[in-house]
Amino acid sequence: MQRFIYQFAASRHFYYQTQSWLFPLGLLAALFIMLGSLWGLFGVPPDYQQGDAFRIIYVHVPAAFLSMAIYAAMGFMAILLLVWRIKLAGIFLPLLAQIGASMAFIALVTGSIWGKPMWGTWWIWDARLTSELVLLLLYVSILATQFAVSNPEKAEKVIGILTLVGLIDLPIIHYSVYWWNTLHQGATLTLFEKPKIAPIMLYPLLLNLIGFSLFCAWVTLHKARDIVLFRERRQRWVMDLFAGGM
């Protein structure tokens, strides 16, 4: 495992290996998101309690899930960078924070838009909403650190430590709906239990979950490859590539 990571993380190897991934990743992401959203908007009957407003679930849940999954991935990258000194992980850290912040923002705002007609309020300081807001603020502080520290490699180490400290927020978000009384409904999908949603309503949600995940991977990979190019500008292969018109 360690050997595989080291090999893959060699910049040149990474750059050429992932070249062929970009197009299929982007295409699949677009297909899944379009299919999932259109199906969710037009191909599923309205909810018996929430009417058509429940259709917001098809963007809200994938974004909320990813905002947490991406942060967990950042925790993994932080360990790779700080313990194993894998430079590539450092490149990924701020990039993951960018897309993670986008996802947390989508989750909060779509949740707010959903909350207005269902709960009668845009916002309430309850456990789930507050802990998700803390996650967005963590992302923002990580991005601010990136801009504040001028040496990018130093910035990545600081971000790594910050990420590890912030990991404590993930279980709080996850269990907030069980630990405290909250307006927020419980989890719709859990790993081992039967989903609390009718199968016909579940399929578009799964499509969008996959689609959003692929989209995040696609965006991050795109950016990471370009940064690798700049970081390795002193290497022969980058010079050759650049001379050839990039």
């Binding site: 998101i33 959203s37 908007l41 037009f42 309205p46 009417g51 058509d52 407003a53 259709r55 917001i56 963007v59 809200h60 974004a63 960018q98 897309i99 986008s102 923002f105 989508i106 705002v109 779509t110 838009i113 959903w114 207005k116 007609p117 989209f215 965006v219 795109h222 950016k223 370009d226 940064i227 190019l229 700049f230 500008r233 010079m239 650049f242 990039m246």
Partner: protein, 59 residues
């Protein structure tokens, strides 16, 4: 024809929740497009910096 028109109207109205549903989906579209735009702008910026760097090396 008017029947079809009616159906589309109904469909877009989302049972009076149209404003909420469409603004949520609109916002998501905006954020996703912004992220795609960010790929492009970062690429251009890096290309410019690389060009400048290589020029300095040649000197």
């Amino acid at each position: 024809m008017s029947g079809l028109y009616h159906d589309i109207q109904d469909c877009l109205a989302m049972g009076h929740y149209g404003a909420y549903v469409w603004s949520a989906y609109g916002l998501v579209t905006m954020v996703l497009v912004l992220n795609i735009w960010a790929i492009k702008s970062q690429r251009q910026q890096i290309r410019r910096r690389l060009q400048r760097w290589f020029k300095e090396q040649v000197k």
